[in-house]
Amino acid sequence: MNAKQTTRNVLVLLIALVLAFLAGQDFRDMQQPDKIYAENPALTRVAKLSEYNPNLKGTAGDTDIYVFDSGVPGGVALVYGGTHANETAAVMNAITYVENVSVTQGKLFVMPQANLSAFSATLPLRAQMGHMTFTLADGSVRTVRMGTRLANPVHQWPDPNYRLNSSGRVLEHGEIAEIRNLNRNHPGMEDGYLVEMVCYGIRKLVETENVDVLYDGHEASPEFRAVNFLIAHQRAMDLGSAAILNANLDAMMEGDMDGYPFKLDLSGATSWGLSHRALGDNTQAMATLFESLNPVMGFCHEKVTEALVKDGISPNYVHITDLGLLGSGELTDAGSPIELRAGYHMEMSRHLIGALGELNPEKTLTISGLPTFNDLVANGFEGILKPVK
């Protein structure tokens, strides 16, 4: 090897290092914590999930829990988003609660980023967005992180080739990466893989705080059969029916005679590891999960831009709808905007909380301060979100 070759190779190495540095900057930025507004005067405290599973302390799974405690005995609810960090409407719903809600009876827990690690990465080769932005009335810009469906492999690696997880679900072959999926590993393990420990933390939170109703927010592709479905554990079916009925009555009172497109489904007996099944079976809580319609979750959407994420306008899916190929999740030119999707989550969770006290008066959880559905849709998040200092 001559000097010329060595110089060339050193040059290649230097270029590789520069590229690694530049790419590394982007990836490192994604690992910085998201700024969430926490100046709501009704907020009692911000807890950590590691209070419920100490093994999470100092890990990328130690997410924040916003506690609203009225001090008056009553019902207890846990509303969370970010089980899948790219299912943005559920995150926006939780953020709307954190910024606006106040509680006069009972206790409310809100967790915007349930699988915190998943907010620090996007899936490779899927052209995903890392964040979306909202310009507020005062000119300031709120940035909301979008992550991915699975925990970041930097935090949990390698994926085992075989795992019989705590729910009885076998993760093997094409499913091995699901060990990083929060919604496959409930009820979790105190000392296991990171995501299993996060699941265990949520389970312990539900047990320790005597959570009566649990709401896990998701988004689904147009192809998914259960778009706009509330999926409820068998002990939560009455609650779910009452909530959907009340939501529709509310809509009609406000002049929307069509009401909401909400439907109710029973949690599958073999939905092992999913929150509505595993937390319903293993805790006292009435476990529910709701899916809003987001074309970005599907396989036929256009290039993922901020506009697609926020407006949900997808000509491809309109065409597929027109062809009559969708059993659920039909899209029109109006799209499926983030305000509508988050508004559905807000109405669904709000009415589940309302129905709790209706069905069990001693479990009344009284909340106020949330924007109305019409407010949210009319003003957009630009008019609802608060500036973060």
Binding site: N9, V12, L13, A20, A23, G24, V154, W157, P158, G192
Partner: protein, 51 residues
């Protein structure tokens, strides 16, 4: 146990990054150097817990 495996894999990624680095320096042709460089970048980023 799971933590030990995690650390072991990171060490392996680091060692492989080092092998790729040596291979870049010793490459006989530009193509080979670039080949090893393409392997080197993700291995380095994983070993440093960045990606």
């Amino acid at each position: 146990m799971i933590n030990v495996l995690h650390i072991l894999y990171l060490v392996i990624a680091g060692l492989l990054a080092l092998v790729a680095l040596v291979n870049i320096i010793r490459a006989k042709s530009l193509e080979k150097a670039i080949n090893h460089a393409i392997l080197f970048v993700p291995l380095l980023l994983r070993a440093l817990l960045i990606k």
